[in-house]
Symmetry: C2
Subunit: 218 residues, 2 copies
């Protein structure tokens, strides 16, 4: 009898410009289900940095909560990230979207000098301490690097973001669609997804490659 592996997935809202990137989140969940594992969704219970009108790109005079909006992607089945315990899961995964750089951290505004949400930091550090792998899509490797420091990651080929990762002590490895970078020390697996000008089927490949790889490491 095979024991089904359990993955935790951390969302950061609902929508690329102020939250979790919806395709990356959905295709991460799909990749986990198709690999025969299960997922539990988490998000921090905090106010979003701001709300962006995704039609115009302009800021809206509204306030939304990261956990409540993430629940849209989760169909209501989601928990406060404070409840995450590394002991309960085989791996931790971060889909991308600006929410990672605006809600999970301040990377979008402060670059290498950013701060990271304390629940996110605790989740990453406790997972590393438990010797379990972490998957990081799109911009989230920058957040992971801020927490861990000396880690090999990829966000594709954007030189500004790559430079910020190096400034935080990480090593950036250039990649293209669907390729992954594995940090064997911290067991972090990253892929660029929409940090490149990608199509939705390329996102599926990137998410699948990350999930497949962390399942072999867990």
């Amino acid at each position: 009898m095979t024991i089904q592996k359990k993955l935790a997935v951390v969302l950061s809202g609902c929508g690329v410009y102020d939250g979790a990137e919806i395709h990356e989140a959905t295709l991460t969940m799909l990749a986990i289900a198709k690999a025969g594992a299960s997922y539990t969704l988490f998000a921090p219970n905090i106010t979003q940095h701001h709300v962006i009108n995704h039609l115009t790109g302009e800021e809206m005079n509204e306030s939304r909560n990261v956990l409540v909006e993430s629940a849209r992607i989760a169909r209501g089945e989601i928990q406060d990230l404070k409840e995450y315990k590394a002991a309960d899961f085989d791996a931790l995964v971060f889909p991308g979207g600006f929410g990672a750089a605006k809600n999970l951290s301040t990377f979008a505004f402060e670059g290498p000098e950013c701060s990271v949400n304390e629940d996110v930091e605790l989740a990453v550090k406790s997972t590393v301490q438990a010797g379990k792998p972490i998957g990081a899509l799109c911009i989230t490797p920058a957040v992971i690097t801020k927490i861990l420091g000396k880690v090999d990651v990829t966000i594709g080929n954007d030189s500004g973001t790559a430079g910020a990762i190096e400034a935080m002590g990480g090593k950036h490895v250039q990649t293209t669609h669907g390729e992954i970078v594995i940090d064997r020390n911290y067991r972090v697996v990253s892929t660029p997804c929409y940090m490149l000008d990608a199509t939705i089927d390329q996102i599926e490949i990137g998410a699948r490659n990350v999930i497949k790889t962390i399942l072999t490491m867990s």
Copy 2:
């Protein structure tokens, strides 16, 4: 040289309880891309019926716009449904979610006596008149039936919804995960998706079967 087929996809917001079902929308887009076709996203430019907190299921004292929220799934690349012209596309597709029954129509509140948004009605009727196929996922076959009347569709096995479809003049065919029903007269292809208690990988199969089939009919 093969000419790439162009599909129009109609969204109804962003989130299962008050808008488009996110997985169904995303996996419809994925299925289209993987089939080698292209998609253009549309939504009506109207106020949502209401806003539901997807964590608690309760109504929120907020107002959101269907086109603006749908733009989250679309990453900003979306058009007012008023701009849709059947002549420009090979097929029309409706992912599900309560948005179809609350924003695209009033089916959630009025059942067989519901009204349908005029842009949705015009899009469906002009597509039928052009002899082009329509894909309908989840609850959207009920909306299609309200517009077309005598049409064979499936929403899975929910007897209440099936009865309402029959009351509107349609014929409901019971199905399970991933199965489709084809109406050869109106060229409507439907599948239950989350109208059943489905997993995300079952949604992918249903969306793929609808897209594959309407591409062979277009």
